[in-house]
Symmetry: D2
Subunit: 407 residues, 4 copies
């Protein structure tokens, strides 16, 4: 079995023109996606879920904008992390924009992972249909308390060897996109006991497999993810040997391959949503008369507008630093933790100030700001709460100082 | 016509025992109100609106807890502002608690206003049925842009004299409780032109009057107000002479009588909601294991818990200062602006930290924190956005320093 | 030996008129103290230390303003905590104001402690001359790392029995007022070993005793404390039996008697300093022209002014809550921790905003704001850093929730 | 007269190796500069001012590190803005580091200005001796209230034509480095009246010219600038025709040439100071035992450390974005305003948290943190207070939205 953690390179000469992609993505979003977003209040259930997805992706496909991050040989545009930053931000301007270009979570991260780890056969079976939008996927790692996401020692779902393959048992929760997914990437314990580290392995499991049950949608405040955030149960799910993704016991290492970039693409998309909230608010404040002048010319409004500009610029700048490090082959753990933590909080502040600037309209559905607020708030929790990232950031900083002192 | 701006005094000897009221209100809320709140996700539309109100108020009436703030001769318990602070906070622990004891906005403020300004006949006709829960009411002051709430010069709704009374024309918006209200207190211009100050007058208008139209509900993010926040139109609404509340052209002065206390009772109720979010979060953090110990014992969690305690204590302390000033007969403009501004923001911070502490559950409907967050956010806008209050607070501070310098 | 933890009561009928005291303290500060403060840049070394103290206290004595907090029978005015809050705030308007009325740290806290714990003989010998300003004192508890302040287990200074008394050995640091103090209250270990809890005892040690050495001044950024913050060494210091303050091994309990109120009086004094910075800044902003109007009328300046008003009001409100609890006989641990933590941070914010409002002058010695900033910053560290208080506040909140759940 | 606003290009082939320069600058700072900084508490007056400067610069010259930003033909190393970012940050690690490599304000900005605007003769006379450290210089633009810095309309200093040249009259304040400067670049009004815009012109005035008086040092809280911040008076100062720098009436345009980059180099230097405070604090926290473990392993300490890492990274990222825009020839007004505003505030936060982490030592002169705090605070005021930058940032954001809407 031949696996690699290096993504196939895109020939330099064929590099897409990012600036042009940005403009065309903008046009797609404004012309096609935003009207749907605004009509259905960004609620994908109200909007029809997979029907909507197929309709929007058909339009993006026609415009040559589908899966800009996916490898070219799998049908994507092969953008580097730095390149996708601007394109994904542009798509994120609508809550359904990333969906339209097939760059929404978790599919986007799963494509990234499959491109790095899957065998040629697995790519053919799973990656290609995912890139072209034939199916959706889910990434089943997080478990209900006291099981954990990124802590291998807490992994409770087990995969035990059976003749010809593996048998999986366990429970997952907050599995984004599970309802309607065509296949699942499942993390299960293949060595050791819960409470120790041992080893975790990733498996590819087609939807509809006996023993794979998609349960209720966790009723989260965000509502723009097709397929929701679901509870998933594995109850004697039997998978063949070639369902193993990568090497046995190496699952947590691959998860890191996925997590750093996935964190950054989250920031890109939500940054776009924050930009929209900000633009709506500035437009409102520029037009609204208050105390004998435009609201936008009052000092406290200017302070909110300026703080938004600063937060957006800083998020973008930190994102680029982390993406450049990832593109250079670094795991970029510190850079992505910093960009994720700052970004998630800054995006929340921007949307909150935008809401405040719009007054009564801001807290109503007559403007899109309140629903953007509803969508971005969980991002301070998802993909590692700010507190866990700060813990890791501090640990690394202290370690660096200790190592320096030890020299 | 005999009007007064002094509320009838409650004889000292009959003062209710506040501590006992607090405990009995707590029991009502835990036993009767919270189960309904949690069952329907604090969504009063889902919960049935006025049916629910009547059911909850019947229970409160039986327990002697109805309208603790209303004058005794109108059927209430006659609590001072300082006394109601703790009782309303206790009621606010559930999003429907104030509704249950008939102390929800806008009825609570309207009772306060009627007790101070109405004629005996008006009290009999409007105040008494309001206190005992037979009807609800609405306060129709805010107008769509560029009309304003507290700025008399912007008042666009007009009341013009017609034989035997007045004819009202204009539009209002964000009129809380309008859908299903038994009567409206309407602010209309009786002197001058929009753009100048002139004079405003309050009118009492029964629901169903020809020319009084309740329009759509503004789709706000909060959903716990019976009767919603509505658009209301007056299209040739004719009212008799005795529909005038207080004196002609004195409406904005009366509005001040209502606004200071109404701001404080808002803070009391939302403070109770924040206390619930905090208790839920501390309970969760105390039980949840994380990194080898209780989440509540981790330093960053402790910081959030401590900051919540500080914000709750400071809100309560500022509330008591303002309430004592109001009870002493001061307009307490600076004190109520400070308590409202700090309180609205502190309550928002407390609920947000509580949400963060609860992780994935915090942003889901499996705990009540996310819906409390949805309800309290607009309070930084309603009843005067923080920025307008800060403007007024600073103006008064500068004026005080200038006056001191002039001496 | 008769010791008590109850301060002698002041007869109700003789209660001083607090409002009058406030006005007279204000007059003393403006007429006598501020000119000295401003002339010497609030630097007590430049101002002459004890000479200045005696001169200012003579003026306060003549005006009947000396030691308003001390018991009447010891020569003070017998103010309760709530009463002294306004008087100390007024004194704190100048960095030397508390010194002038003999209510500066650590003497003020030491008077409080002696009034509660000392024998009649000790009161005569130590308390009376302290109240009337004949001597200063120091409280020697904090030790250099890894020794600690409030953690008994870390106490390293030992007191061992010798014939006729005790022998003290150890090192202290950050001992405020040590240089020139007439006597020291020293905490030393009388039971157990460092690392365990054991018992600590307080001793009264006259300055000049053989084996008691006052070392260098720790060069802190604040400079308004007469006698500095010093290192102190006990090297075979022998004290008689009656040098024990209170009971043997009860020293940490007495320290709590001192600490709660001492924390609050710190807040009172620094609150006064913050009020001065704010008034200077508002006065500056009201007079300074900028962008075609007064600086004080610009929105961002108004925001800073309003936030100052809010922070000052909230500090005052939390202070009053804690003082009322202390006056009612509660240890008020949560209330004083909250008021100290919020107060120290709010005071810092107020002074920082005031500095920003004054622009270039604000960061210069041409206005008093920068030197007030220099003085108040350490208060977020002294008397328990904010982080330690937050740790304790959270612990109590979690314990309360756990106890409630256990019922 | 030949003037240009394009700096002479450095041939690509000769580009210095930035990484190597960073390392050598680090070595210079650690080996030579820091010991002096720490010995004299960063107080340049105590350290001897120009004597110290010459001694440190001799060392830097020997190591080939002098004036890395200056054009090569004037004796510098010709670094671009992006390149100098890391070198200046490294120098800023000591308060005297930029002084040592002759990159301190205002000389560094003046070199930049002269390189862009001066005639060949002026370069020979002023730029070359400035680059090699023979003289210092001052930039005399800011005037006492109501005169202003960047507002041409407020310019009160006048230059009137006299036979053979110009006569200057007026007052300046906060003129950094004035005491001991070899020459001054003076902004004076050559057209219009105060209150209108008119035109301003820059003049080169040698120290010692009759009518040029350097007055008192404004007693600012920062003390690391050689030559202080002084008041300067022009009282009939007569200058020849060739003292005009650039074109008559074009002074404010040139000031912009200087201001953008000068703002960024300020951020670079203070960023280095913040890095030192952070490293000292992390080192302290890693070594200090508290509550049974290292202080650095407590959650609240980790939060402060992580927030420092985030603030430092975001400042660096915004700086690089602005520097790249400047290198590309953009005025980069929005980018430099954002980087300056965020950077000045973030640097202040980093140093404040570092101080808090170090407890009692943090607020003493036993560690360098408190003196770094004293130095960086004024940066939120100097070079445009945060409020003025926010005003400008918001104006540009609103204009962009209005222009977009107008299309």
């Amino acid at each position: 079995m031949s696996t690699t953690t290096q993504a196939p390179a895109t020939p330099e000469g064929d590099m897409p023109d990012t600036e042009d992609l940005v403009l065309r993505t903008r046009a797609l979003v404004r012309e096609v996606v935003l009207p749907v977003d605004d009509q259905f209040d960004g609620d994908v259930t109200a909007a029809g879920g997979d029907d909507l997805r197929r309709q929007l992706q058909a339009e993006a496909r026609q415009r040559g904008l589908l899966a800009p991050h996916a490898p070219r040989e799998a049908g994507g545009l092969g953008l580097s992390m730095v390149q996708r930053a601007r394109v994904f931000e542009e798509a994120g301007f609508s809550l359904f924009g990333a969906l339209a270009i097939n760059a929404a979570a978790p599919d986007e991260g799963n494509m990234h992972l499959l491109a790095h780890v899957a065998t040629p056969e697995q790519r053919e079976q799973y990656l290609v249909p995912l890139v072209c939008g034939d199916v959706r996927s889910a990434f089943a790692m997080t478990e209900p308390a006291p099981g954990a996401g990124s802590d291998l020692a807490a992994l409770a779902t087990t995969a035990t060897r059976v003749p010809g393959g593996w048998r999986l048992d366990g429970r997952k929760t907050f599995i984004t996109g599970a309802d309607g997914a065509g296949f699942f990437i499942v993390m299960a314990r293949t060595r050791g006991e819960t409470g120790n580290r041992g080893g975790g392995t990733m498996f590819l499991a087609p939807a509809g497999s006996p023993g794979l049950h998609v349960g209720r949608h966790v009723p989260t405040m965000d509502r723009s993810m097709v397929g929701g955030h679901c509870e998933v149960t594995f109850d004697g799910l039997v998978l063949p040997e070639d369902a193993v993704l990568g090497e046995v016991d190496e699952g947590f290492r691959y998860a890191q391959v996925r997590l750093g970039p996935a964190r950054m693409t989250h920031v890109m998309r939500w940054l776009g949503a924050a930009v929209r909230a900000h633009q709506v608010a500035v437009g409102y404040a520029a037009g609204r008369q208050s105390f004998g002048g435009a609201l936008a010319d009052l000092g406290m409004a200017q302070q909110m507008i300026a703080d938004n500009e600063i937060d957006l610029a800083a998020t973008r700048a930190l994102l680029d630093v982390a993406c450049a490090a990832l593109d250079a082959g670094s795991p970029a753990s510190q850079e992505t933790s910093i960009a994720k933590t700052f970004g998630a909080e800054a995006i929340g502040r921007v949307v909150d100030r935008s809401m405040q600037l719009c007054g009564g309209l801001g807290v109503s559905a007559d403007l899109p700001v309140a629903r953007i607020a509803r969508e971005v708030r969980p991002f301070r929790v998802y993909d590692g709460p700010s507190e866990v990232h700060r813990f890791a950031i501090a640990k690394r900083a202290v370690r660096a100082v200790r190592e320096q002192a030890a020299r």
